[in-house]
């Protein structure tokens, strides 16, 4: 059967009343949560995981997918209205979006973000539907050595590309890998790092780790640094766009979708880089580039679409290889595992109803998002005013509930320790995403490594003799070289002003800065702000 008829079957699964309710709940919850400060999609899914244990897997995963898409949109609402992007990937949306809002065009900025999410989300989901089966077919032939190479690439990408400091990225990954070691050795069944504690024999539940690092860590971090001054929130009217707004937005949406999707889909992606690239592209292609820095609608439409498309792209390696490339994807993978489902090349064959139902529900989630969010924008804006003491008390209550269902009282003590770890990581700028990915991918990578070496009968060279592993390690070396050597070169070019500048110098530097692991994101943003 081809992808199209499979997808139609998927719609039959997704359109049952119960699953529609799940999708609706997911989208609504996801948007609300994306709008609320301090709560991201990874934390939300982690909090809800233990509560869905008794529910139907398809419905639960459909709900998680709705949360995932909804939270992306909610995040841009916050970015536009208070100029405080919750995650790195909405930084670019915040720049022009907040300028538009300050110029009294908040409604238009929200509208172009909402419709852009719909357009880019639909394009990217279509690409996902038609690429996933092919990648799964290729992936069936992937050997353990190749898997290990892909995972090494993912580890390196997550430490090098995320965050501002490679050492701190590596620290995050190391912490995650160490936490992932706790429990029984996957091959021999020997206990590692359990110290005879019975509760540790099965390893730390990913729910406890994710909720501890994200929810409890965030609550403690905010407790230490609560903003006492009220936030400056810009009021919104009903979003509608003029003919000119449409004309300037739609090419940006489509470009954003095609820039974002591939970056999400490769195991070295991440959602920030495509948003920088889309911003730079829109600025270069704009009819009136002078509008940038004064609230250009293209500067909202493009990066926001790229962000959404990248979010859909992340599902390609997750579903076809079982490989999470973002923190949220790692928690989603734990969601699959909770129901005894292992994503990978065989998933499409072993669970066709679930996968195609899930993919179809992504289209439904997109439609629900745009239908809900255009009229509800003023309501979401009001959510930003929720009293912080209730917000964080509520987070702590739900964190306790989720972890108690997963790990009883012992789990709660571990939760507090991990919360303190999450606090320290925030204080010392150690990124959380590598830690979560390390916890989830570490044991998988170890299993593949040992399987590969078993097959090779102890010969270490089996790791680097397949065409795929050779090309992956080559790419990896190139990335490492580019980021270690590229940084100083770019900085030198920037210092010697006036040399080697092309048409729009800031854009080049902006893109270069983004490629250069975002070490100087702030500098790039300041540059953009100076244009005001």
């Amino acid at each position: 059967m081809d992808a199209l008829s499979q997808l139609l079957q998927g719609f039959a699964t997704a359109a049952t009343p119960m699953n529609l309710v799940f999708a609706f709940a997911g989208v609504l919850l996801g948007t609300a949560i994306g709008v609320l400060p301090g709560i991201g999609p990874a934390m939300t899914v982690a909090l809800l995981l233990p509560m869905t244990f008794g529910l139907d897997p398809t419905g639960s995963l459909i709900m998680f997918a709705g949360i995932y898409y909804g939270a992306m949109y909610g995040g841009s609402t916050t970015a536009i209205l208070i100029n405080a992007p919750g995650e790195a990937s909405s930084v670019m949306t915040a720049i022009e979006g907040n300028l538009m809002a300050r110029a009294g065009r908040a409604a238009q900025a929200l509208a172009t973000a909402a419709i852009g999410s719909f357009v880019a989300g639909t394009i990217a989901t279509t690409l996902l539907v038609f690429t996933a089966p092919y990648i799964a077919d290729i992936a069936i032939g992937i050997r353990p050595a190749d898997y290990f190479a892909i995972m090494v690439l993912a580890f390196c990408a997550v430490t090098i590309m995320l965050g501002k400091s490679k050492v701190r990225g590596a620290a995050g990954l190391g912490i995650g890998l160490a936490l992932g070691l706790i429990g029984l050795d996957p091959v021999t069944g020997q206990e590692r790092m359990t110290y005879g504690v019975l509760e540790l024999a099965n390893g730390l539940d990913i729910v406890i780790i994710a909720v501890g690092l994200f929810a409890v860590g965030e609550t403690l971090w905010v407790a230490a640094h609560l903003r006492r001054r009220p936030l400056d929130i810009i009021p919104v009217g009903r979003p509608w766009m003029s003919r000119d707004d449409w004309k300037r937005s739609w090419p940006a949406w489509i470009r954003g979708a095609f820039i974002g999707f591939p970056f999400g889909a490769i195991p070295a992606g991440g959602a920030e880089l495509p948003t920088y690239l889309s911003y730079a592209a829109e600025k270069k292609l704009a009819k009136k580039p002078s509008m940038f820095g004064k609230g250009a609608i293209e500067g909202v439409a493009g990066p926001d679409s790229a962000n959404n498309a990248a979010a859909a792209g992340v599902l390609v390696p997750l579903l076809t290889l079982g490989l999470p490339t973002s923190a949220t994807a790692a928690v989603l993978l734990a969601g699959f595992q909770q129901f005894g489902i292992q994503p990978g090349p065989l998933l499409l064959d072993s669970e066709p109803e679930l996968v195609w139902g899930l993919l179809a529900s992504l289209f439904i989630a997109n439609v629900l998002l745009v239908v809900l969010n255009l009229p509800l924008a003023p309501l979401w804006a009001r959510l930003l005013r929720i009293p912080r003491h209730f917000l964080y008390a509520g987070i702590l209550v739900f964190a306790t509930l989720g972890v108690f269902s997963a790990g009883e009282t012992f789990g709660l003590y571990v939760l507090l320790l991990l919360g303190l770890l999450g606090f320290a990581m925030r204080r010392f700028g150690i990124p959380l995403a590598p830690a979560i990915i390390g916890v989830i991918l570490g044991p998988l990578a170890e299993t593949q490594l040992r399987r590969a070496l078993q097959l090779g009968d102890g010969d270490l060279s089996v790791l680097v003799t397949t065409p795929m592993s050779i090309s992956i390690y080559t790419i990896l070396i190139l990335i490492v070289l580019a980021t270690t050597l590229g940084g100083p070169i770019v900085r030198r070019i920037r210092r010697s002003k006036g040399t080697g500048h092309a048409l729009v110098p800031e854009d080049k530097e902006l893109a270069a800065t983004a490629a250069n692991t975002g070490t100087e994101d702030k500098a790039a943003l300041d540059q953009v702000h100076q244009h005001r």
Binding site: R192, A223, T400, S405
Partner: protein, 168 residues
């Protein structure tokens, strides 16, 4: 002057993170070294190899981080919508939140979730500066009772009923 002194202290504090990484790496490495070889082992790489790599990697990272900090390249604390980094850390609130959390962990089984959960909500809201105690307590009770019945009746998961166990 003040700024410089503050920077200096922050830098020192981050050495604590390097120390933590060093200790974590040591724990992982020592644990790996103590693993007995097993008859169940197949292939050349046993259960200790990967922990060794992770442990040594952590120790290495700890040294690199310490060097980075001593060179003055200290971390930027994470920013956020509700975060104000212009003032120092408010340790009182942090300790209160930790205390409330621990109280709930201890009291959850004997008192039951409907009571301990409400205390958790009320206490955390108090720590964050809420002062309308009766209203907050009512909201806390609504949430704890609501979630208790949601878990028991809808989600099929059980929470401790505690002293109210026989009544509910």
């Amino acid at each position: 002057m003040m700024q410089a002194a503050l920077q200096h202290i922050r830098g020192r504090a981050e050495l604590g993170m390097a120390l933590f990484l060093l200790l974590l790496g040591a724990v992982v490495t020592i644990d790996a070294a103590q693993l007995p070889s097993s008859f169940a082992q197949r292939g050349p790489v046993g259960p200790a190899a990967v922990p060794f790599v992770v442990g040594v990697g952590l120790i290495l990272t700890a040294f690199l981080l310490a060097v980075e900090v001593l060179r003055g390249r200290t971390a930027d604390p994470e920013e956020g919508e509700d975060i104000d980094l212009s003032t120092g850390s408010d340790w009182r609130t942090v300790f209160m939140v930790v205390g409330v959390f621990l109280a709930n962990t201890v009291l959850m089984e004997p008192l039951g979730w409907p009571i301990s959960g409400a205390l958790l909500f009320w206490g955390c809201a108090f720590a964050f500066g809420a002062r309308r105690h009766i209203r907050n307590a009512v909201i806390g009770l609504v949430i704890s009772f609501g979630t208790y019945f949601l878990f028991e009746l809808v989600l099929g998961l059980s929470l401790p009923g505690g002293v109210l166990g026989g009544v509910l």
